[in-house]
Amino acid sequence: MRYAATWRSRVTLGLPAALALLLLVVPLVALLLRADWARIPSDLATPSVVPALRLSLTTTSTTALLCLLLGTPLAWFLARSDSRATSWVRALLTVPLVLPPVVGGVALLMTWGRNGVVGQYLTPLGIQIPFTTVAVVLAETFVAMPYYVLAVEGAMRGLDPRLEHVARTLGAGDLRYLRTVGLPLVLPGIAGGLALAWARALGEFGATITFAGNFPGRTQTLPLLVYVELERDPQVAISISILLLAVSVLVLGVLRGRWLR
């Protein structure tokens, strides 16, 4: 330390800092303290949890796949352009990021609902989105995709532009450059973005319950089940919460290893 830390600075900065830490950590510890560890395996095997777990896994994996297939090209366009339009697109992309998820749910209902902007044309074809697993995926993608695109865009911007230049002079087109040079180099960024988006999708509650409803096996994901179980059997709700907490910590591990260095 180059500067002497006075007791005053320690107290004025240390006290709020400690308080901030406690505010964040105590609830997590409380969850762990209240968990009935012996019951967790049986709780997670109950008839209501298994379908929710399966649904959460399939919908979040589909969401991650959609992010990968649709989000990566979008991230690439954002990364290689500095035009005004690009910054507008980026700003637009940030909106779902900060939007309350329940508002996202209402917006999705207004889009894909029976009388929605898009949904009204699907209804005559016999396609109905709300209350289906597709709606869960749409809700999760709506909230998770921005995380993925922004993370991958950041990684792509970090690439040395000379690499692309060299690839071009050697005759490589966009797709070939991406396949052989660009994407392999941003793979850690893609993995980090996927982990982040997947975790966000796994935690999705507001948009899902508003847009997809809550039906066991079809649209009732783990967070929705936690909410419902808290009224039926709080211990089951805590057990599922522990599972989700463990998954979050696991994702954090992936992020630290691959993305945050």
Partner: protein, 271 residues
Amino acid sequence: MTTRRAPLRRGTAPAAVAAMAALLLAACGGTTGPSSDGAAQPAAGGTASTPLQGTVTVLAAASLTESFDALARDFEAAHPGVTVQTSYGSSATLVQQVDNGAPASVLALAGTAAAQPLDKGLAKDTRTFASNVLEIAVPPANHAGITSIDDLAKPSAKVVLCADTVPCGKAAQATLAKAHVVPNVVSKEIDVKATLAKVKLAEADAAVVYHSDVVAAKGSVKGVEIPSAVNTRLDYPVITLSDDAATKAFVAYVLSAQGRSTVQSFGFGAP
């Protein structure tokens, strides 16, 4: 829409006790108690000797949204020193919130069964103030052509119910079982208003909600009555959680003839 008025059933002992207690409490609070002769009463529970002060925090079942908004408004008008704060949700959620220490002075629930998980030490007084029955809500266009409870069994009709954990969901399950109807349920919503909303938005073809919700929806949904033989009746209790004067006066107002007529104007039945 006609307001359903169940015949007054004062024969049962608990109801009689509740009515007596209500009279007593109302008398203590200096208010005019519920009177069957319908005599003119001072507005919103009358005038107390000293003006009431403070905040009454009311947690009420989602189905009570419109009626308790009206009760709170009338009570505040009569007692300018009192602020009535209302919060609505499924009875199951509210009871769980109160058990976990949510600051509330009054708890009003859909059905006496909903009060079962409530920490017994918290309830200072429990009275029944209204009743409700189930009804099917359909969008005004009613494309699915639902005209009776049996129509809910149509595979093409998307039906929304309340979650099994909340009173309207439990009641709907009981009624559907009695009617031997297995509907195509697409969602089990977290409270009755969320259930109704799916029909208001015409995303669902039908929902099993309370008669009062159909009345409160004021034409944005159509009601299809469920025969009383298979219907489920719920008695709504109001639970006093606090000892302060303003809280007691509010509960007395809910139980007063004027309070009851307000609640009944929103489609509830007599207790």
